[in-house]
Symmetry: C2
Subunit: 108 residues, 2 copies
């Protein structure tokens, strides 16, 4: 499985996506602070974090008895790089679409 596809798989679960969004917005957080992303038990969160870590989406730092998690910038960047590598394709298509809509609104 390509590295990117594993990244997508990790983000393809709603709970994990919510965890990542929260970490992106609030920065490094302990596992316990991530429980409120849904009504879900601590063990469930812990396992989602393990999946995210294995996929290279988050990393862990230890501080006393807490485990602090944060998003690995490389992961988010890699996703953007993939999309951008096809930019010519989607930019062109979307420009065409926009032109067609403009044409439509100006018609008659």
């Amino acid at each position: 499985m390509s590295n990117l596809s594993s990244t997508f798989a990790a983000l393809g679960d709603a709970t994990r996506f919510a965890i990542v969004e929260k970490l992106l917005q609030e920065g490094e957080l302990p596992a316990g602070e991530l429980q409120n992303v849904g009504q879900i038990s601590a063990p469930a969160i812990s396992r989602h974090l393990k999946v995210l870590r294995k996929a290279g989406v988050v990393e862990q730092r230890i501080d006393a008895q807490r485990r602090l998690y944060s998003v690995r910038p490389e992961a988010v960047q890699a996703i953007g790089a993939w999309s951008m590598s096809y930019r010519e394709f989607w930019q062109k298509s979307l420009d065409r679409l926009e032109a067609a809509l403009l044409q439509e609104s100006t018609k008659k």
Copy 2:
């Protein structure tokens, strides 16, 4: 489930990711042409295409008895937009990392 998370889920399967990459590189293709993305049966490909379609990643066009598939530019663009919305975060972090590596190589 957020729309983006469904998109990620669709791309999070290695076979589907390969299908999408092939469509991005070669443009619109009939279902039959997508079988060689792995040693997999036609029904399996058909169902992957259904998942991709439901997630809004690909669209279908009918031409006689063939079903032609292509990638929806909006899907790829949306992924890029998500990554870019956190650009400040990852750009900063990666700049710091680069600076640290430069520091390292110049040291002593």
